[in-house]
Symmetry: D2
Subunit: 427 residues, 4 copies
């Protein structure tokens, strides 16, 4: 099965556009910035640039072009992230040690692989096998995921430097002059019943979004807006971080061990609260969605509020017909905003701004089939000890997100742009 | 609301029977055995005896008898397990440091609290408030849970002693002379559809089993028997512990870090496999249910088998009408057996022998309400990073288990009598 | 070479006296107390009783009696402490797991080995080889060291129990009714020059005390008394634990990490300072020698005082002709006292009460020869990262200490009865 | 007291020469290389460049020039290494996080401070106070120490990169074409007696080298040459790393924990042994001095050889009249060599090539006085848990070393150019 010429050209266009966005995002950094790894969860920006390139080299060029000459045979070891069935790899926590290859070499690597991929596609002519198209598509979706990680990782790395560097200049967007939420928070009632979730349309989806399947939902309510900094501050000021009754056991242990008193990047000063952003430290805007909270904090806040987090089925069902609009990486704000896009749905800011923690542990869908081969490791092997987040963030590409999209992190992680939307029972 | 005289007498009878079983189980130990804690997950037997007593003192005597004089005011600190809202408590990992109170004092404490409880009940006459009955019932259920833990903890403690002490003499039960499984393994097909799970009958249930609620199940199959040692050994011999493709990412990391090569308590000798039991080290019986495997191992075994673990809804629905019969603590075998009880169901050994790992992370049921007050911490706060197990084990009381009963442990835990039952899709 | 009959009888008498003292010290404990190990540095009392017995079994009975039948062959693994050249051994930090052998079995083991040793000696008649006498002597000296450890370990174990158990009743010794130091502190000037230190007399000494050798000492001064609780409290109240300028770098890191604010076992209450002792918690007596300080604290206190700790050569040379008198384990006070024995020396309390930290790292003496064979591991292999203490404590046997005796612990250890004597330059 | 004009000009010349050597050493690196820190013991090269500059700014410009405007006030926090009495500082283990200031900014910082120092000196004219001269001298000695660290740290960082980058090209020095040791190893007998060690001459010395003082030395022997790779390989091949009897207790624990089988940077390949150097991985030259061994390995090798390490007094007394010649950083070999300089002494390679572990723990000399003020922290506070090394290495400046010079590291450290010279008793 092959794809037609228009589809090939569209694929090439996507390839060039997405690959060059990674370089654009990295171009705001100095060479020294590209190699640091301030904690094991983050990767150096240079590693992201190389690893996404290796993904194309390893899963397409090496598999589909028998005469392909690898750029550097050692890169298989250096830039494999976690594919155990492919071979051993450099330990994740030591990526910050790899000052070489230099940025110049990594850019040369990117150019080499880009050229080879485009050449491979052109060699196929108008007979690009569907399988190759799928692999390129997954490679591009993968690269978009790493673009988001590059931003969140740079933010974390910079936050550990007492000089508090800025990734980029603050934009004087209208949003910041008009920092009010456009509409009031309301609770949207949803009837539920025997519904379906999961992906079954045309276009790309990850294996973990499939198959579409039946789920029973009791009637429920969901908030029209994500929780704001101001609302979350009320929880802090009410003593939420000192009261074990709101917290899961593991969450309370984490609060005590890590001495958490507020979301990541917040700082209390004599003249009020500040938060560190990719444009430097700013006064906390109480109307923006709260961000950089762990699942534990989201869950405790919900319990304190007399509500709960939505399940991922509740979230997806509520958002299933809302247009994909919002504050994405293409906005170049790199920060959750107060403004909201206008559409007919009473639910606002469903996509972009902040990933929304659900109450659902990340597990496989009924009768789900992981991809064949090493790419079967892409999603399935992480289905334990992680919680699903939905909706994308200000660091996600608009072209990457879907209502069925399942992101996932451990319950104590805070360095992603992760926020909260509340739900509740109707009985 | 009060309960009638017959109910009171039955309650008193249960109280005496269950409380004295704890002492009977402890009576096989020497005083030195009662204080050891070979890892943070286990508690010293003496601590179990005192903590279960404290539970009655703290939640009943102190709440319902205003003139109650505590046995020792410091026991609130020593024997509170994890109730944060009640006050601070002795760190879990340091329970093995508490050589005092001595066993003599702990038995005196038990007698004192038993007398006070019975006196309280008798003072009510035939007007025992329903709330008090409920508290005693939960205290007794709680004690039964700790009876099981006492056995699993002693087993772990003894396994760390190179002398490999026996908890009790081996019984020469017919089971061991006739060590063949009575019936062949088959796969039972179940149609599913929109079914209900959860408890709604009369009698006791924990808050985490309620409310009964609708769940959609695709058609599925479930094995007639739990996986045996022989079947699991095939996985080992096929290289299962060296092949990352079967394992969850966290599971593979655990295998490598802990150097797991087989279930807990197994040992390979020149003349074959042995396993440590509460009656000492024994030759491994290939027909017994495999036991002391983690969720990671259960999941990897299932994947290697081309099957999967059942969800907890699938498990419960399949077992919902099977009689509660099997190899329980009352059998005094303290070990999973080969024999099976006879009933009409094609599903065998549903209860007793080994807890069966499901694929379901432990979360709250829709519209579930935890208990009021400190007892709300009993179950709800652990609903994160744990996996549900079903069916009870050879260390569980027959009077404690139900089809709706939800046990839960972290995915890497192996010191419980935890085994495997396989399921599969029908498409 | 053999020893005469009188020497044999004296040896037998010593053997019986010292061996039975261990049992007397243990007799104040309950069985549960004998198995706990509250930190890796301490050993359970039962382990001390068995290990000292194993020492006689392994180094004498197995070597000198070819027909000796071991009490239990597995004890070689369980009760070898650290003799690598003999074979593998149970990990030190897991001694608290060994609830078996029970106390009854350990006492049977002691009886068995005692009988065999006495039988061996009697079989030799009046021809006991010198080598056997030496081995018995080292075994007895070894047992005396473990008697002291048994007391310090019980003290530490009990201090971790919120019930604060007492090892024994407080004695109403005259010392406590007359809690004043008998004489004023003075600084004793010592001329120094080319002097000799180390053991060369008749009688027992450890290999690490030999050979006697020349050392050059500049003129120096040494305090007449050890530092008192009152003097040390002045350091605390002056902010000593908050001022890095007094501390060694490793010491300051330890202060911050461990949050040290005072010696081990001290507690500040509303009505003043308390200290935990083997007779329970007591009001701090300001005139007693300060105790349970680390080398870091001793060194920081000295620096803050404008003085320094003595080198071990300075200490030994100053004490070399002072009689061995003082507050030893035979006094049964189990605590440093204020009273001092009377003799002609201006230096007081040289022996007993508290071990005195010197400024000397523990290294071998020039031309020193460790013992042959496995016993060569007894002292020599610890000559790194340890500091020498001198003089014995209230838990040391009077018959065990000498001016040349070298005790040694790491610089951060505090659970021994360790105190401070100051010295200074004279230029 | 002031110094004369010639002395001022010499000081300025030294300042310019030493400061520019740091930049020359760093110039071989790419910007990405300057920020990595592969373990807490090493510092990023950029940090060395900034910290040595801060030393001049903080201890001279801020103290002696009241109108001095700091380059960046936050650098006091970022580039203070460990001076507690000056203020808080960035944690050592997190230096690798500081991608900013960039290399460009660090060079600007160096230029700014250099200009200010020279301007200060010129402002004094021919009346430069002795105290200022002393501070500049100590700043330059300090910078020389960090030049050596920069090289050893780059070597360690690069060794952790699977690409095994080279710091510089291999020089084709005559040494490598003629890789034979020039003379045979002999044992030099030294009579000892009451001798003196320590610095008392004119010129610079650190406070830890003073005062000169008397020491008694028994007669001893010392090897004419440091131990070679070939000799050390014999120890490995004889099973030295598997035999506990040669090792200190802490050393043996380290061998087992770290799985040491050979010196740092060695690798066994099918065609023999290789070692990683600053010019890349090379075949092991058996005639070169063994390097990158810990004190534990040096001590175990000596014991296995039937010898011992020299005390620092033995070392210094033996080397006291040997000219300062050898393989230093100025040779630009960056590696220990086989060739030896010619002089009348029977002792060869006393200086340069490798630091030689002594058996002496690092302690203060009798009546020693640390520097006043914060610089008193320079050496004195490390006098615990460290071992003295003598003689300088191939990474030390020839102008930095003296017979009395005391270097010191913990017993398990291996990333310095540390080797072995044997000694022995004569009785």
């Amino acid at each position: 099965m092959a794809i037609d010429q228009i589809a090939v050209e569209r694929l090439i266009g996507q390839f060039e556009r997405i690959r060059s966005l990674s370089e654009k995002l990295a171009s705001k950094l100095q060479n020294e910035d590209t190699i640091i790894q301030a904690m094991p969860d983050v990767s150096p920006p240079k590693w992201h640039l190389a690893h996404t390139t290796w993904f194309f080299e390893r899963f397409i060029l090496k598999e589909k072009n028998s005469s392909y000459i690898p750029f550097n045979p050692k890169y298989d070891y250096l830039f494999n992230s976690y594919y155990e069935t492919i071979g051993s790899y450099h330990p994740r926590h030591s990526r910050g040690v790899l000052s070489r290859p230099s940025m110049d070499e990594v850019y040369a690597y990117r150019d080499y692989v880009n050229t080879e991929i485009l050449s491979l596609l052109r060699d196929y002519g108008d007979e690009v096998p569907k399988e190759v198209e799928d692999l390129i598509e997954i490679g591009l979706q993968h690269e978009q995921q790493h673009q988001e990680l590059l931003l969140t990782d740079v933010k974390y790395n910079f936050s550990c430097n007492p000089l508090l560097p800025s990734y980029t200049e603050s934009s004087s967007s209208p949003d910041h002059t008009n920092s009010r939420q456009k509409s009031q928070v309301t609770e949207i009632k949803i009837e539920g019943g025997l519904v379906e979730i999961g992906f079954d349309g045309p276009g790309f989806s990850f294996d973990n979004e499939r198959p579409r399947h039946k789920v029973w939902l009791n009637a429920y309510q969901i908030s029209s807006h994500p929780v704001t900094n101001g609302e979350y501050l009320s929880f802090i000021e009410a003593g939420g971080y000192e009261q074990p009754e709101h917290w899961l056991s593991d969450g309370w242990a984490t609060v005590k061990k890590e001495k958490w008193k507020h979301p990541l990047y917040w700082r209390k000063s004599e003249d009020g609260w500040y938060t560190f952003t990719l444009t430097g430290e700013k006064k906390l805007n109480l109307d923006e969605p709260v961000c950089h909270v762990s699942f534990y904090e989201a869950d405790a806040f919900a319990r304190w509020s007399g509500k709960r987090l939505p399940t991922e089925a509740e979230w997806e069902y509520a958002m299933s017909s809302i247009p994909i609009e919002g504050n994405f990486v293409e906005e170049e704000s790199y920060h959750p905003m107060t403004s909201e896009t206008q559409n007919k749905s009473p639910i606002k800011k469903a996509f972009g701004d902040v990933w929304e923690w659900t109450s659902s542990p990340y597990t496989s869908y009924p009768e789900s089939k992981p991809l064949e081969g090493a790419l079967g490791e892409y999603n399935a092997k992480f289905m334990c000890n992680q919680i699903v987040l939905r909706g994308g963030s200000c660091a996600t590409s608009k072209w990457h997100i879907r209502p069925t999209y399942r992101n996932f992190f451990q319950a104590d992680k805070r360095w992603q742009f992760s926020g909260i939307r509340l739900a509740g029972d109707l009985t």
